[in-house]
């Protein structure tokens, strides 16, 4: 199967083929979802190194456990759940207030006017600090909702909690972030 053929297949077909040992099919799943999973991990754990490790572990775990997946079409939801849990475990093991990195791609470009660059940096610093101030679960709920557009139902499933709890965590996270980001509204 060529890369182009694999790209045209849906998740369920790729999962079924991967389970049969088709490496190219699984590579296509990795290509398809490594970006979203990396974005999710980076925003929850806050450091590029930990995010890369988490995503690598997730895709290796997924490869090993494909046989346990009852519904081949549910692969993406399963991936979100596994990535979220992996990241929450990283945060729970970490010392409180471990520093997180600012993402390089978001640094102001050299062409940015100095006064604008200062403002952009201040915004990013404020956002990073605000995200650090959330509990791991609040942060995960917020990232899944705001960055990944997951529904309350999907978030509840990913974190292993109720929709009601997701609503509460989101409300608290948003209140905190709104306060910190108020100067840039």
């Amino acid at each position: 199967m060529s890369v182009a053929e694999a790209a045209a297949l849906d998740d369920a077909t790729l999962v079924a083929r991967s389970r049969d040992g088709d490496m190219r099919a699984y590579e296509q799943l990795v290509r398809r979802y490594q970006g979203p999973m990396y974005r999710l991990a980076l925003r929850i754990v806050g450091s590029t190194g930990d995010a890369e490790d988490a995503v690598q572990d997730v895709f290796l775990t997924a490869w090993r456990r494909l046989g346990q997946l009852n519904d081949d079409g549910a692969f993406l939801g399963w991936l979100y759940r596994t990535t979220t849990n992996q990241c929450l475990n990283v945060l729970r093991k970490r010392k409180p207030h471990a520093d997180t990195e600012l993402d390089e791609h978001e640094s102001p470009s050299p062409r940015t006017r100095p006064d604008r660059a200062v403002e952009v940096n201040a915004q990013l610093d404020a956002l990073q600090a605000a995200l650090r101030g959330l509990t791991p679960e609040q942060r995960a709920c917020w990232v899944l909702r705001e960055v990944h557009g997951r529904s309350y139902d999907e978030i509840a499933e990913a974190i292993g909690t109720t929709q009601q709890s997701v609503r509460g965590r989101l409300a608290r996270a948003r209140a905190q972030l709104a306060e910190v980001m108020a100067p840039w509204r």
Partner: protein, 86 residues
């Protein structure tokens, strides 16, 4: 909060549900009631606009992270290793 004007849905009720509205997590009937209120209540609409702006700002600040170019290759290499061991 209440704007003092008579509405079918109370202002405080609307503002407590503004995020459900933004997240498209309320049913059609509720959505319609909230939309009607926002259409006729300027203070609530203003607050809604701020929340919408904040949502967009935060999403924009968080949406552009790219996975490292070699990540897929590293995953592949490890899987090949595992398969060889098996």
């Amino acid at each position: 909060m209440n704007c003092g004007e008579p509405h079918d849905t109370d202002c405080s009720e609307v503002l407590s549900e503004v995020w459900l509205f933004l997240d498209q997590e309320c049913d059609t009937g509720r959505r319609k009631a909230l939309q009607t209120h926002l259409d006729e209540c300027h203070p609530c609409l203003e607050q809604f606009g701020l929340e919408e702006h904040l949502k967009a700002l935060l999403a924009r600040k968080c949406g552009g992270d790219y996975a490292p170019a070699d990540l897929k290759a590293r995953i592949r290499a490890t899987i090949v290793e595992i398969r060889t061991e098996d």
